[in-house]
């Protein structure tokens, strides 16, 4: 080993990037699903409508993380 090198990091930065990109949507999806559960508990008869709104919200939030996969493949 080169004596001048104290430590060396090996790996792909894209995996760190994916980890960072997963934080925000993770929290976001948690909030969406949690709020939907609360709303369903208040008004169980609206369950169907609430669930489709939830899935639309999840779809918009989750695309950010999925974009991170694509970015990793494009620039990684």
């Amino acid at each position: 080993m080169d004596p001048m090198i104290l430590s060396e990091l090996n790996g792909n930065v894209a995996s760190i990037g994916y980890g960072l990109a997963a934080i925000g949507p993770g929290i976001g999806i948690g909030i969406i699903v949690g709020k939907t559960a609360e709303a369903t508990a208040r008004q169980p008869e609206l369950r169907g409508a609430l669930q489709s709104t939830m899935f639309i919200g999840i779809a918009f939030t989750e695309i950010l993380t999925l974009l991170a996969i694509v970015t990793g493949l494009l620039f990684g």
Binding site: M1, S7, E8, L9, N10, G11, N12, G48, A49, S52, T53, F55, I56, I58, A59, E62, I63, L66, L67, I69, V70, L73, G76
Partner: protein, 298 residues
């Protein structure tokens, strides 16, 4: 991780074991520390980390031409043929009191009616788009489910062509629906400039909304479906390959292979769920986009 003399690079091969043929646009390099030297005994590794080459298998027919026919296309053809034949037979024998097969198909159609159209477009306006939405849902569901059918094992939507086609189809449908209702200028104004905002905001809002309508909506539909199917397939390959590698490692690691196998089965079940969920999300977003294009202002 700190590089120690023992740390090694895991060379990427595709699962069949031979290196990728021909130039690939991008080779993705994954290097990790070698945590399990026993899996790489005699330099012949039992466990290969899968790459994107999984989705570009060797051509079966017409290799080298633009009409290259490989396993993905074969899977799509088989699934389409099966679905068309089954649905045609059931539709031609439709009865007022449904049999078992007919009631399963009716269940899917009812699900699109009640779960998607009723909650977004409303049953009164939405019935015009019901054929489109039901076709889209059944099409994507069968293509996604091919990824978990033993023997096919590759989703038809895991290569970009098919998700892109479905998304562009959706794009055309919602733009045409909007233009038909309001005319071209009226549609653009409706989608890009919601009324009742301070004037300077429009400078910022109109370009963003315009980009959203013409690009981001269908691009995000494509990427959402594609990335889900690609990630799901890679995940299954990793866990099943890991189980195999551990089982035949001829060391104490064989003992933990059942746990990896159980995990692989769990992920398999999760993939069945994801196949349905992604078809549902694609269809419901298509319905929402149509609703945004055609809705009256409140």
């Amino acid at each position: 991780m700190v590089a120690a003399p023992g740390s090694a690079r895991i060379e990427i091969h595709n699962v069949a074991g031979h290196p990728a043929v021909g130039p690939r646009p991008r080779e993705i390099e994954l290097n990790t520390a070698d945590l399990s030297p026993t899996l790489h005994a005699e330099g012949d590794s039992l466990f290969h980390i899968p790459t994107l080459d999984e989705f570009f298998p060797e051509a079966l027919l017409f290799a080298g031409t633009p009409f290259e026919f490989n396993r993905v296309q074969l899977v799509r053809l088989i699934m389409i043929a099966v679905v068309l034949i089954v649905l045609c037979i059931i539709a031609s024998r439709a009865k007022l009191v449904p049999g078992r097969a007919q009631s399963i198909v009716e269940l899917i159609i009812e699900f699109v009616h009640n779960g998607i159209i009723k909650n977004t477009l409303g049953l009164k306006d939405g019935m015009r788009f019901a054929p489109f939405l039901i076709t889209l849902f059944v099409f994507l569901l069968t293509m996604n489910i091919a990824g978990v059918i033993p023997g096919l094992n590759l989703a038809g939507t895991s290569v970009i062509g098919l998700p892109l086609l479905a998304a562009l189809w959706t794009f055309v449908v919602y733009v045409v629906a909007g233009v038909k209702k309001r005319g071209f200028a009226g549609y653009l104004k409706h989608e890009t400039a919601p009324p009742g905002l301070p004037k300077p905001i429009y400078l910022l809002l109109v370009p963003i909304e315009f980009l959203q309508v013409v690009l981001i909506r269908w691009a995000s539909l494509t990427i959402r479906l594609l990335a889900n199917m690609v990630a799901g397939h890679i995940m299954m390959v990793v866990f099943i390959g890991l189980t195999h590698g551990l089982l035949f490692s001829a060391s104490w690691l064989t003992v933990i292979s059942p746990f990896a196998g159980a995990l692989a089965i769990g992920i398999y079940g999760f993939e069945i769920f994801v196949a349905g969920l992604q078809a549902f999300i694609f269809t419901i977003l298509a319905a929402v986009y149509i609703q945004m294009a055609t809705a009256d202002e409140h």
